[in-house]
Structure formats: C-alpha cells, structure tokens
Amino acid sequence: MVQSHNPDPSSSPSEILRAHDLRKSYGPRPALRGLSFSLDRGRILGFLGPNGAGKTTSIRILTTILEPDAGHFIVDGVASDDPQAIRSRIGVLPESLGFPRHMTGIEFLTFFGQLYGRTARQARTYGMALLEEVGLEQRAKSLIGTYSRGMRQRLGIARALVNDPAVVFLDEPTLGLDPRGQQELLALVRRVAQERNAGVVLCSHLLAEVEGICDDVVILSLGQVVASGPVSEVIGQAQQSALQQNAVRIQLPSPLVPKAQGLLEKIPEVVNSTPTGAVAGWLRVELVDSIDGTSSKAQHINNRILQALIRAKIPILGFEAEGGRLQDVFLNLTGEAIE
C-alpha cells in the first residue's frame, strides 16, 4: 500500500493549499481520519475515493462549510481559523449546486460578483468575460432554467471563478455530462489551472479523465488517505505490487475473443484467460505467479502472447499490463469496483 504523503512543514513558495491531519466525525462514525496533503499553484489535484470515503466531507471542510474536529489547513497563506478570508480566496463548484431558474446567466454572475465586493458594473463586466471564458456568452441573457446540464456546469465553473480564486474546488463537475461535454469541461479545468495559475482540487469518479489531466492525486478510503502524490508516482508505486498479480488485459474484436482464448491457453505461462469488464472485447489473461513484472522474462511472455495473436491474424485493439492505470491503483487500494 502506498504511504500517505505528509507535506513538509516548510511550505514551498508556490504552495497554495496545505491540509494537516484533518479529522471529522458524524456522531460515533468517523468520516475523515487524518487528511494531509498540499497543492501548488497551477497544478490539478485529483481527489478520489469510493462513495462514503470522505471526499465531500473533505471538500466541505476545506471550503469552510464544515468545521473539522481536529487539524487545520492554510489557503493562500490564510489559516483555517479565518474562514471569511478563506472564502474570498477560493472558488467552489459543489457536487449539487442549485441555480435560480428565474435569473439569467449574467444576472447570476453579477449577483455573486457583488457579493464578493464588486460594484454592479464591475461585476457585470467581469461576469460577461467569465461567460465568454466558459463558452456561454451567447446565452448570457437566457434564463438559467433553459440551460442544459452541461451549460449549468459551465456556469457553475464561471461562478467559482467570479472572485478570481487562488484555489478552485470542483466536486464531480462532469457528473451527468455526455462524453463530449466531459471533454470540454475537463479542457476548461486544465485552462483554469494553467492560465489563471490557480490550484485546482478535482473530485471525480472518471478515473481515466483524472489520470489524463491531474498532476497530483489523493486517494481516500474510509476517511483515510491510502495514496497521494504525483499521478505518475502513485501509479508507479502501485504497479510494483500490482504486477505481482501477473495479468495483462487485451482488447480484441468481440467475435474473436473465444478463438484468442483457445490460442492463449496453449502458452505454458498462461494460467487462464477470461472475458472481463462491462465493455465487450476485453480479455484478462492471468500468468504464472512466479514472474517478476519488471523482468525480461515478463516482456518475453508478453511478446509471445502478442505473437500468437498476430500469427492467428487477430487484430489487437489494446494491450496493457494490469496495474498500469489509475483505475487499477484505485481498485487495488480501495477494494471497490468502479462501473
């Protein structure tokens, strides 16, 4: 298991968020058991965990909606005992943010801009710029009730940026969006981090997407950090142990899966092969467990498998060593299945 990443007490100049040993219980049930991590400017932190792991509790504590039972955190140099000052430095898109249906997009942003201290004119001007940034300038004067879910999420991100925050918290921003909407939104999140030099904390169940855009990751399970650090490091560490399982996954055209199974089971190092996952065409091939995943022998076996398939003229659509994806790390560490 990957050890929890404990931030260095002496923070770096680019550090924008630091949490130290945050704890929270609801009655006798502990929801968070010592959350510690740090985030630098311009970086995106993926905040992962199965349902009930404590993600939303963590976000609510870090955004001052909830008070922790113990521990503290610092946002942009402001300690957690000054929540009002923290609120002016953060932007948040909660998991279920409601919108007033009878307001237009620009009225909504103007209202929040004013709550953050702008004059009506400044707030409106800045609101229009934000709507342009999130691609809603054409619908600025439309009632929010007429917005699609994707548009509301983008408006929510604009609302989170209305105070030009140092840290942006996005809780499941892609929930309920179609694949195109998800891609557009994640690109927007990337731009927020890069162009605004803001730290972004991104809660999501879309592990492939998190892996694609996040620089760092914190994985929570039952209120505890089970892995944290740069995404590549977390995957690398987990891969070491995961490869001891000696399995690879191969994606093939679905009708050819039985034929491939027959071929692969003739290879002495293959223990068995079984169709896997919800998506048709994936075959999980289990290898003998004496093989070290990083050795040349392992590479040799991988090559034999590939050769067998190529000789049989079976197209190989995908090939990966099990444990090489963030999803594998997640499943391995949390013991939960992600659909």
Binding site: R60, T63, T64, I65, L66, E67, Q84, A85, R87, S88, I90, V92, P94, S96, L97, G98, F99, P100, R101, H102, M103, T104, F111, F112, G113, Q114, L115, Y116, G117, R118, T119, A120, Q122, T125, Y126, A129, E132, E133, V134, G135, E137, R139, A140, K141, S142, L143, T146, S148, M151, R159, L161, V162, N163, D164, E184, A187, L188, R191, E195, R196
Partner: protein, 477 residues
Amino acid sequence: MTAKASLSDRPIASSRSKSPTWWLLFKRDLSELWIGGRALALLLIYTILLGILTYVLASNSELSLIPPKEMVYETLKVAIAVSLVISLIIGADSLSGERERATMEGLLLTPTSRRQIVVGKFLAAVSPWPATLAVTIPYLSVLSQGDEVFRQAVLWGALLGSVLAPAYTAVGMLVSYWCNSNKTSLFVSLGIYVLFLIPAQLPGRAQTGAMGQLLQKVNPMAATTHFLSKTLVNNRTLGEFWSWLISPVVFALLAYGMLFLFAAPGLRLEAGRASRIGKVLSRWVGLSVIACVIAALASAPALATSFQAPISQGAEQPLQISIDMASKVVKAGDNIDFHTVVTNAGSEDAPPLIVAMNIINLDAAGDVVDPEDWSPQRTQYIEHLGSGQSTTLSWRVNAILDGDYMVYMVLIPAPDGQQATSQPVASSGIHLTVTPFTRLNPGGVLPYAIGGPVVVLLAVLLLFRLRRRGIDMGGSK
C-alpha cells in the same frame, strides 16, 4: 471557450462590498418572490378571497344587518389572518427552500456574514404584507360607506399588521432554520399557526372566563383581534385596551431576537445549529410544538364544555314559560317580534330569573346560532316574580341567514348559593323558516370584488411581460 476573463480586473482584497450584502440578498429574493410568481400567486388567491368575503358582507349589509364598522372589522381581521399565513408560508420556505434547491451552499461559500444573509431574506419575505394591506384598503373603503372607522381601520391594521406579519415571518424562518425540507418546515409552521388560532376560535363562554381571557391576552393573534374589535366596533379607546397590545409586541421582539441574535450567526448548510445542545433543543422544541398542537386540538372541546355550567337535577321549580308563536316563514332580513309569558305557579316567590334565547340551525345538524348576531337582546332578567304572578317579555329576532331554525327560550332560576343549583325550564319552540334574499352588486361592492383579482392578475401578466424584455427565451443547446 477561448476568451479569458481579464485578470487585471482582480477583485476583492477584502470581503467589503460596494452594496451591503443584505441589500443584494433582499433584491435577489424580492425578485424571486415576485417575478418568480410565488408571492403574486398568494396575493391573487388572497384578493379573490377578499372579493368573496366583501361581497358576502355587503350582501348582509344590504339587509341592514351588519353595520359598516363590523364589516370593516371582519374584513381587517381576515386580512391580517391571511397575511400572517402568507408571511408564515414565505418565511417557512426561505431557508429550508434554499437547502432543498441546493442554493444555500453557494451563498454560504461567499464571504458574506450569515446574519446579513438572514436579514436580506427576512426583508424580502416580509414584502407581501404591504402588498396585502394595499390590496385591502379599497375594500375597507367601500365597506365603510364613508364611516370614520375606515381611517381607524387603516391605521390600526397597518400598525398591528406591521408588528405581527414580520414576527410571523421570523417564526417561519426560525422553523425553516431547523428544517432540511420544505415539507417539514411548512407542516410545523402551519401547526404553530393553528396553535395561535385555536384560542380565538373557542366558544364564547370559554373566551370570556378568567382562563379564556388569559389565553386571549397572551395569544398575540387573539389579543390583536380583540383589540381591533373593541376599538373599531365598540368605540373603545387605546387607553382602555393598550394592555392587549403587549403580547403582540413581546411576541415580535422574541421572534426577532431568536432569529437575528441566536439563529442567524449559526446559519449553515444542514438544519439547525452545530452544537449538540442546539440539536437537543431543536428536537425538544419540535416535539413540544407537535404536542401542544395535539393537546390544544384535543382540549378545545373539553375546555368549551368545562365552561358550561353543569346542570344537575335539583329541586323542581313550579315555573312555566310559554311563547305566543309556533312557526313563521320570513325572508332573510325580516324582523320577527314575539312574546313570552313567565308564570310562577308555585306557592312561594320565585328567585331572580333569567330568560335566555336559543336559536338552533335545523339545516346544519343542529348547529347553535349565536343569538347576539340575531337579536339585540339575547337574555332578559326578572328581578321578582311572586307566587301566582306572570310577566310578559317582548323579543325581536333579525333573520340574518336563510335556513331552517328553531327559536326557544330557557328560563333559569338563580341558584340559592355557591353550592346550590337550579332547574332551567325550556319553552316550546318557534319553527322559523328563513328564505333567501339576494341582490346583485350589493352596496356597489361588486366592481371591487371582481376588479381586485383582475387588477392583480393584470399586474402579474405585466410583470412577466416586463421580465421577458431583454431576456433571450431560447431553449438549451
């Protein structure tokens, strides 16, 4: 998604706003209430109810049965009662509604103080009261028929309504503060309303006894109604009845104190306050309210009966009472005059006697009609009636409502002492059939009864039209 907001326009080093945040919240909620249509819908319903009530009252007035003062008082009483319901409903939705619509978190995430959020929402939630008062004034004017009671009614109505309506809004918001769902908040708020309403609905004797008086006086709603009744209908002065204003004022101050000093600073995403004591307290308050409502509902009939004098079987009185009419058919509004003869057939002088009139509605499963509304005299007193003597009493009944009634008298000898009782004697009844008397547009009130709702409806449509200007009404892409 290519352009980017200018960072040079960097906001907000401090949380200080150009406009006070309570003002921003007030404007937003006001717009949601009125342009969103909730307040207008309630106002429209209120205007329709008021129109119906005014027409009914004017119909009776046309028959010269209800004087303008009483009509104005009745209308004002209903106006205040309905305004309080509206205030309570809107207050009850204010915080739990934000939680239910998931808009609360967005507000709590801003550097706005919790108290300012509550103040802004409170002011917006109070806004229907001036509107209901403004709608009521023309009705009061037409019903007063030039009587000076109109000015008094507007003055006292505005003052007392302005004390009670915001207080009820505050109560609704307090309930809303402790509820996560609107359903619970509305249910508890209406329960509290019923709790305040019940003492005002107790039977007459229950209201006038010592306990009844106390209940009336401490109940802000009943005290207000009583005060208005005395000042508007009975021409009593403020000096005589000022003490009835204490409970509304104290109630309002308590509600404001609880809301702004205790609850508002602890406003949060979940219902109630964060402390464990707060949780326990809120649970007890909730349970107490429910228990009080149940107890009040259960005790009302018992309380009513407890104020009725127990009739025990005492010694028989040789007293007789007869009536000189057996039945009569009249139109609503007609007067019926009749006589009763009380005879002492005994060998001794009778104690002092009370003769009381009773009217029973035969159409509605024997409902008792309050004779006070029907007759200038509901009782007459006979100081002395010697052995073998008779006395004749004259009575007049104004048939206010159409229907089938039985009018009869009860002769009650005064008991000898505190531990003694006496045997009342009933007369035979007059079967009174009252046929309806209708007239269109009584008192010229019909234009108001119809016009009021139409004007409000037009205002609703105008507001929607104005709102649509400058808004792109296109669907989602």
